[in-house]
Symmetry: C2
Subunit: 406 residues, 2 copies
């Protein structure tokens, strides 16, 4: 297998470090808008970097991406950029006759009149619209294959296959006790993406009603996370699992709740009240003259790059899927989860916990695709494939998952 990795930020860099220890692929070309980032990712691999090369590419330039795929004879494009670039990369992969894998799906747009009641354009809609083209080409677009979405969807499929006869609710629950020394406020993941998922109307699925939306930060609940993280207040946010899981797994209700905490929610609400979450350009004075810039890009620019904070971070992050239903006629409630301790991921891989946890899952998935264990064509979510091989390989990577009966 030959891979084109687009994006050498925090997640992309962690992908190279994880993949370098595995022998399922022949070559990985690492490309970024900023070539120094791609070069730094490859250089950091040292002797283990002989199967990697660094390149420059503009992820929004379909033709350039397709040319890079062809030039390096890549079988698959692995997208590790932010969600703005999903569509150009997804389309470039198809044009280049490559498989495609991403960790976030094409963006949503709120309902024009009833944004907090009905869906407008849903996450992934633009990708699923092209499913037939992918099926015809015999190529696989494996979408939402990070940790959340990704491993969380694998957990949902595993629960349906092996742990439940009937499922009442699947609720993805994400929480952490991470702190960053020396910063008042330093998000541990891309603020651009965090704003996108937290301020968009959260989406909920109910079997009788289909997909619908609510007010941001709705239905707060305190969820008790394992391995010493403890109780964290979680609220509904927009996330791919709610769109993916019901397509392949039978459940009466699917939700996603994120353990943001009061302080973070307050800051996001302020950004929104001021209009600083907006991606619509405004004109400001610059060294180049009056320039059109996106306020959200400025928020990202003033905050520290989360990928560089690993040395100052402490604590653990937990991603997981809570499932409620029945097995053999008896009620059952299970939380399937994956915890990463920042101290461990920094020591083992030099990557902070949140980006490392995102990065390991697409590498595991690619190894399953390379082996033919996961095979298919079209636009498919992680829950379209058998879960057990994935969970076993994840454990073999040295990163086991857990199951808690509750």
């Amino acid at each position: 297998m030959r891979i084109l990795l687009v994006g050498a930020g925090g997640v992309g860099t962690a992908i190279t470090r994880i993949a370098a220890r595995r022998d399922f692929f022949e070559h990985m070309a690492v490309a970024d808008y900023d070539p120094t980032r791609a070069e730094a990712a490859v250089a950091a691999l040292g002797d283990a970097g002989s199967r990697f090369s660094a390149h420059r590419v503009d992820a929004s330039d379909r033709a350039a991406v397709t040319a890079l795929l062809t030039e390096h004879r890549c079988d698959v494009l692995l997208n590790a950029t932010d969600p703005r670039f999903v569509m150009p990369l997804f389309e470039a992969a198809l044009a280049g006759r490559a498989h495609y894998l991403d960790m976030a799906m094409s963006l949503s747009a709120p309902h024009p009149d009833r944004p907090y009641e009905e869906c407008g354009v849903r996450l992934g809609d633009a990708q699923f619209e092209q499913a037939e083209l992918w099926e015809k080409s015999g190529r696989l677009a494996l979408v939402g294959m990070g940790v959340e979405p990704g491993l969380s969807d694998v957990f949902a499929r595993h629960a349906a296959d092996e742990l439940f006869d009937e499922i009442e609710e699947i609720g993805i629950r994400d929480g952490a006790n991470l702190t960053v020394e020396g910063y008042d406020f330093a998000p541990s993941f891309s603020i651009w993406t965090t704003i996108e998922e937290c301020l968009n109307p959260p989406v909920v699925f109910e079997k009788d009603r289909g997909w619908f939306t609510t007010e941001p930060f709705s239905e707060p609940e305190v969820f008790d996370f394992p391995e010493g993280i403890g109780p964290v207040e979680c609220v509904n946010v927009e996330h791919e699992e709610v769109l993916l899981v019901p397509r392949w797994v039978d459940a009466r209700r699917v939700t996603f709740k994120y353990g943001l905490g009061d302080d973070f929610i307050g800051k996001l609400k302020t950004l929104h009240a001021l209009g600083l979450d907006s991606t619509a350009p405004v004109t400001v004075a610059s060294d180049l003259g009056p320039a059109r810039i996106s306020p959200r890009d400025v928020v990202a620019a003033v905050l520290p790059d989360p990928a560089t904070l690993g040395d100052r971070m402490h604590g653990k992050t937990c991603a997981g899927t809570w499932v409620k239903g029945t097995k053999d006629g008896a009620p059952r409630e299970v939380y399937l989860y994956h915890v990463v301790d920042n101290q461990w991921s920094m020591r083992e891989y030099g990557s902070q916990a949140v980006v490392w946890q995102t990065a390991i899952n697409p590498v595991v998935a690619l190894e399953l695709v390379a082996a033919g264990t996961w095979a298919g064509s079209g636009v498919l979510g992680p829950e379209a494939f058998p879960a057990r091989p994935f969970l076993e390989l994840l454990t073999a990577y040295g990163s086991p998952w857990g199951q808690r009966e509750q």
Copy 2:
């Protein structure tokens, strides 16, 4: 008198409307970085605009400003820009042998090691350093001559001259009950300046100790404002009066407290925690390529222009000076104040209350200078001049002030 007004934003435009009704000057040249703003201000005067002309000028370009003063034979430069441009305009006026008047003083810089205990560079320091040059040239720089600083300083001088024998404390107190229809958050005054004064370490004067600083938003107190505004929580902020009043008026303590309210304080704290209050340039993508921009300029760009909100605003704004001391051996406490009702200022002048209240005071002061009632040379604050003529002329302008014994 011939006047060069630099700045045709909200305050500058209100100045033209107030001045157009007075006959103490011969000509007012109105200049702005954006010539369409200057033209709009003059055009709005209609038939009353014959003594006004519109021009383009970059307020940071000393030579261009001096040339404009000479070209239009101006006796005085009236600075209605934001405080970043105080020093170039102040120096351009001296070079052009004109008097100078502003409504905010040269900017402060915090103490490098003990920002919340000691002053670093104080507001106005850079201007007072040049006092001798102004004295020698026989020209007057009347600094801090808006409403606060400005009218508030006149009140302090009036209290010292006529109402008290000994003054224990002079506390400027500013509060409002303004609301803006249709906006979650819409500051009624320049957000650039509001951030500057609220997030800098607040300065306090005590006779035994001199000037010193505290933490932002310190010493909260509820002050009861007159004319139906009622009680508002006020906190210490950095303001020119604390630097000006002790130079000419004998008081044991001088403070400035602003009625910001919890919600506004929370938003300012968030901007600060994220670094969005900063004026240090960051690089972001723009239509012109990677551009260096100031995050605080972006905050200003995403918020509605306060000068345009008059039609949606409701309520009153109050500026005033609370004085505590003794008169004829008996304790006395007085609040001298000036209230503007937005409905009135919109109907009478088409200007919203906060900018109108700032704008009237420099016009009154210029009229006193033109008449020779206020005369002097050097760098002087409003309290360096007799207060009674100012207060009488303010009343004659149709905008009376009040006095409350407490």
